[in-house]
């Protein structure tokens, strides 16, 4: 973006600047009227429905002032900050990219029309004014859109990280026994993260047996199966044995069909069986007390 910033039209620099300052003065002078016209256009276009009229009024005023300031100074930095701030505020309310771009383009249009009106008598001058105005206006639209999308991507990344953190819990159920329920689709990145978490969990809880339950995982492909094998091997290097449970018939079929070597893997039908086996390995015996309430 900064590259574009550095290269405004150099040809008529002095002339352009003069025109711009004239233009800025014009926009400042008619600020209230133009802003209201803009707000009306936004309403007509049904944009920013998620915001209350008061918020709209406040935001449109700020956007307008920022807009004029960029025209005046040629620096988009302040606008960038503002756009990012604005995005942070409105993204959680479900404002879409097209709305944000839409309102900026509307403002551009409103201002351009007022310029037409002002200079309609002198076509040559109007052309020059537009030459000065258009590149700046384009840059502003660009900046706002990019800032909004950047902010949105940042939020998405943040949420993905949060989901990842949440989605692979390593749970100690008994001394030396961990359970790792896998819910949802495993991709390579998640599989890697899961292995890392499991290995540090093994060290932290001094686990000797780990039960990995993949009941909640809809599908397993070659890559994921290999990751599972690696996880098992790595756990073994740290002295823990792994039991895999909850392989659905479909997954079992897939694994055999694609020919992943699972002969070294200790697999048991369901989580209950896996826990029983783990308890056996660790030397626990669980007995039900006489008169217990279970049916």
């Amino acid at each position: 973006m900064s590259d574009q910033q550095q290269e405004p039209e150099r040809t008529a620099a002095g002339e352009g600047e003069h025109l711009l300052s004239q233009l800025v003065a014009h926009l400042r002078e008619h600020r209230t009227r133009l802003r209201e016209e803009w707000a009306q256009r936004i309403q007509q276009a049904h944009l920013l429905n998620a915001m209350t009229p008061q918020e709209m009024s406040a935001e449109t005023t700020s956007v307008y002032d920022n807009y004029v300031e960029v025209l005046e100074t040629g620096s988009v930095e302040a606008l960038q900050h503002y756009a990012r701030d604005l995005s942070e505020r409105i993204i959680p309310r479900g404002v879409e990219t097209h709305e944000v771009v839409g309102i900026v383009l509307l403002l551009r249009d409103v201002l351009a029309r007022s310029l037409f009106e002002k200079y309609q008598r002198d076509f040559g001058l109007l052309n020059e004014v537009l030459d000065a105005y258009e590149p700046a206006a384009n840059r502003i639209a660009n900046t706002v859109a990019v800032s909004f999308v950047d902010e949105r991507e940042r939020v998405i990344r943040q949420q993905q990280d949060a989901i990842r953190e949440l989605s692979t819990p390593v749970l100690p159920v008994r001394e030396r026994l961990l359970i790792l329920p896998i819910i949802g689709v495993l991709d390579s990145e998640r599989a890697r993260q899961l292995t890392e978490q499991l290995l540090s969990g093994i060290r932290k809880h001094r686990a000797r047996v780990v039960v990995i339950d993949i009941t909640g995982s809809p599908d397993v492909d070659q890559t994921v199966a290999n990751h599972l094998v690696q996880t098992v091997d790595a756990s073994r290097l740290m002295g823990a044995s792994v039991i895999i449970t909850g392989l659905s018939p479909k997954i079992a079929q897939t694994l055999v069909t694609i020919g992943v070597d699972l002969s070294k893997m200790n697999t048991i039908g369901d989580l209950q069986g896996g826990l029983e086996e783990a308890e056996r390995l660790l030397g626990y015996t669980v007995t039900r007390k006489e008169g217990g309430t279970s049916s």
């Binding site: 890392e196 093994i202 000797r208 996880t231 073994r236 290097l237 002295g239």
Partner: protein, 132 residues
């Protein structure tokens, strides 16, 4: 290799030998380590060997091979070898590179390793029933 701190210490504990690797070993140091350790197994008539690699932040294929060789030689000389202290990152890297420890049993740390030896190689001298 003379002078400077020892790269490996080999200690005797009851009928077991405990070898701690303190720092990354290059290939010739590994070879020497292998020779020293196997010598000592015979000398002390050890029944169990623990190799503690907790201080290593990388185990390459030659190191893994050496460890497997040591375990096999120890077996031939009547001792069970347990590899202990592989760090999570090291374990992960090893499996990604396809480096394994073969049939050498592994345990989390020294304590677990000793316990494992007590379970798998009950020794008449240790008195008890060999469990725990």
């Amino acid at each position: 290799m003379n002078g400077g701190p020892a790269l490996v210490s080999i200690m005797r504990q009851g009928s077991n030998l405990i070898a701690s690797v303190h720092t990354a070993l290059d290939d010739s140091e590994l070879v020497r380590f292998e020779r020293d350790l196997v010598d000592q197994i015979g000398e002390f008539r050890s029944r169990g060997v623990i190799i503690d690699v907790a201080a290593l932040d990388v185990i390459d294929s030659f190191a893994a091979l050496t460890l497997r060789r040591i375990a096999e030689m120890a077996r031939l000389r009547g001792a069970v070898t347990v590899l202990v202290g592989i760090q999570p990152e090291v374990a992960f890297t090893m499996v990604r590179l396809g480096i394994g420890t073969g049939d050498v049993p592994t345990a989390l740390d020294l304590e677990e390793g000793l316990e494992m030896l007590a379970r798998t190689a009950p020794h008449p001298a240790s008195g008890a029933d060999g469990r725990r």
